[in-house]
């Protein structure tokens, strides 16, 4: 208890409060602008946070991560355009409610559902800390290798109908991480005698290219759209009453978000789709779903906002990011020599509790800000798209050039931008490349580190933890192939 209370000392510092305010309010604004999203913002800000203290840098990024989805619900509900990709499901019922002149009710319901999901997830994280602190140190090289493999397998199979291309892109990301000087025998790999390739591709360069520069290209090449905002009528309390009425759905969806957040490689999409289906299954009026059901908004928003805090569990406990945004945060930890993993809960537990407290404050600030300032935010949604593209390109320069002041980094970032642009136009996933790059690197290190204790392939899975994770991988693959077989059979009939 003393440790928890002492970790609150960080809130006596003004810079921590500034970080919380900038992260939370900035995240809401970024989320509310369709076409930006937290991935772009975090990728741009990442190098700037390197010069900050870890708790400050991480708080800013966590603020953006945790609050962007709150803001993303606004355009999803009002103009049928999700602010962030994970708010797509909110458009189904949210926009239908707007068309029925219930925009205010839908928006406040989305806010309170997001708040419930966020707080539920943080509380789960707090209560699980003692368990994580006991379990995490039991993870050895082989266990972490298997956990990273689980993440990669899940990120591939969670891309339904795109499994093959997701697999190819995961391997592409893994390959990128092998370029340069390898750090066991110090030999060059795929450097083609180019000195700039010796240090390999920096994660930030790839991230900025794939997420930010590609998005800038899309916005610059596209056309500005004129949007007309519906008026917000009704009482702010209506949404809260809806949430109280459907509290069971809010709790189930939040729980689903926590579970999906903990599992590496899964994330918000599956969390909200499962929650939405469960909510429809237990609803008295399932036919209303997609036509303005409040339960639909609760399921989508509570689930996707429960993911960020839960996604911190594999990152903090094992150093394994579950999706692109936590992969970005991993680099901030490394820059400050705070290595996420089993030791973090022993050596830096005050830091961990400080993060939890920051997360709670971020959610409280965001809900207060949104209840007061939604009308002002509506103006931000109307920023011209091409101007936004120019701004993102200008900001991307800061992100990539400040790494090493290298022209080649900027050119490579632009090349990855073109690749990201092609992927986005083809509706192909980008996240597998990032996770392949991060988890592939972890896997190779752990694979080579564990060689001293390996005689046969069976030795990789003969430890209790690695064995359980391997069993989960096998079960996940069996379920995946079974569902493909079932689909094939139903099509054949």
């Amino acid at each position: 208890m003393d440790l928890i209370l002492s970790s609150f000392d960080i809130f006596l510092r003004w810079d921590v409060w500034v970080a919380i305010l900038v992260g939370s309010i900035g995240g809401v604004i970024i989320g509310a602008i369709p076409g930006v999203g937290p991935a772009v913002a975090i990728a741009i800000l990442l190098p700037a946070t390197y010069s900050m203290e870890p708790i400050i840098g991480i708080t800013v990024l966590l603020g953006i991560y945790g609050s962007a989805m709150y803001g993303g619900a606004i355009p999803a509900i009002l103009i049928n355009t999700p602010g962030t990709p994970v708010n797509a499901l909110t458009t189904y019922d949210g926009y239908s409610m707007t068309k029925d002149n219930k925009a205010r009710r839908a928006i406040t319901l989305a806010y309170w559902s997001s708040f419930t999901g966020g707080i539920f997830s943080i509380m789960s994280l707090v209560f699980m800390t003692s368990l994580i602190a006991k379990v995490a140190p039991l993870f050895g090289s082989r266990d972490i290798l298997m956990a990273a493999l689980l993440g990669l397998v899940l990120v591939v199979i969670s891309h339904r109908k795109q499994t093959l291309i997701a697999g190819m892109l995961v391997f592409f990301g893994m390959f990128i991480s092998t370029i340069g000087m390898e750090n066991v025998r110090y030999t060059k790999r795929f450097t083609f005698d180019q000195s700039w390739l010796l240090s390999g591709f920096d994660l930030i360069t790839v991230l900025l290219g794939l997420f930010a520069v590609s998005q800038a290209f899309i916005l610059l090449i596209g056309k500005d759209k004129r949007v007309s905002m519906p008026s917000l009528k009704g009482k702010k309390s209506e949404g809260l009453f809806d949430l109280i009425k459907y509290k069971t759905i809010a709790l189930i969806s939040s729980g689903m978000g926590v579970i999906m957040g903990i599992i590496p490689g899964v994330g918000e999409f599956l969390a909200q789709f499962f929650s939405y289906n469960i909510a429809r299954g237990i609803s008295d009026k399932p036919e209303r779903f997609g036509k303005g059901a409040p339960e639909g908004i609760i399921a989508a928003e509570a689930a996707n906002n429960a993911v960020p805090a839960a996604a911190m569990i594999p990152l903090l406990a094992l150093g394994i990011p579950g999706e692109a945004l936590t992969a970005m945060m991993l680099s901030v930890f490394y820059v400050h020599s705070i290595i996420p993993g089993p030791d973090l809960f022993v050596k830096h537990i005050d830091f961990v509790y400080g993060l939890y407290a920051s997360l709670i404050l971020i959610n409280i600030i965001v809900i207060i800000f949104l209840l007061i300032a939604t009308k002002s935010l509506l103006k931000i949604i109307q920023i011209p798209q091409r101007f936004l593209g120019a701004s993102i390109l200008g900001l991307s320069f800061v992100g990539v050039y400040t790494l090493r002041n290298s022209m080649i980094d900027c050119i490579m970032c632009a090349v990855f931008g073109v690749l990201g642009y092609a992927l986005k136009r083809l509706n192909l996933p980008i996240v597998p490349i990032i996770l392949g790059m991060v988890l592939g690197n972890i896997m190779e290190l752990k694979f080579r580190a564990s060689q001293a204790r390996i005689d046969t392939l069976f030795d990789y899975i003969n430890r209790p933890i690695s064995g359980i994770i391997f069993a989960i991988i096998v079960i996940a693959l069996l379920i995946h192939f079974w569902s493909i077989w079932r689909q094939y059979r139903s099509q054949a009939n």
Binding site: F175, I179, G394, V418, F447
Partner: protein
């Protein structure tokens, strides 16, 4: 989340990726080291080879899956080529971006950012004075936040050397 049908560009994309993989696979003996007497699992060559083989395998399966739903017609081939040419539209902005990066050490972060934003504002088709001012203020704001306040690592412009001493130092530190 998923795609029901393949769209124009899918095939050309996977073909391009497979060609890159092929070149990389051929380069393995020249671009990675093999140590005699060292077990396979400890070879630095193993991991990149595993990744490339994985890429090739998934890429081939994906291209076969696309091919099955394709009908080789002139329209579809044209669609693939149109998509390829649409990707090349980004090259214009890549050029502006690289030009911007090249300009920063010469004329400084502030001036190059203002020029870059002005250029993109005109290129985007905005012709009103108000939009022009908004873009300049945005560019200036970005420089102030990142260079003046956060002091990110961006070199000062060579042009600042021609300013009087006091001004040169001021611009080098803050802009």
């Amino acid at each position: 989340m998923g795609k029901e049908e393949y769209q124009a560009g899918d095939l050309v994309f996977v073909i391009l990726m497979l060609l890159i993989v092929l070149v990389l696979l051929v380069s393995i003996p020249f671009e990675t080291k093999w140590f005699d007497g060292v077990p396979l699992v400890k070879q630095p060559r193993l991991w990149p080879t595993f990744c490339l083989v994985g890429m090739a395998l998934f890429g081939l399966l994906y291209s076969m899956q696309i091919w099955r739903s394709y009908k080789l017609q002139l329209g579809q081939v044209q669609g693939e080529l149109n998509e390829l040419s649409s990707w090349s539209r980004t090259l214009e902005f890549v050029f502006y971006f690289v030009l911007y990066v090249w300009f920063v050490p010469l004329v400084g972060y502030l001036l190059s950012t203002l020029l870059f934003f002005s250029l993109l504002t005109i290129r985007s088709g905005y012709r009103t004075l108000s939009m022009f001012w908004v873009s300049l203020v945005t560019g200036f704001g970005i420089v102030v936040v990142f260079k003046s306040l956060l002091q990110v690592k961006i070199p000062s412009g060579a042009i600042y050397d021609y300013l009087p001493d006091g001004w040169a130092t001021f611009f080098m530190v803050y802009f």
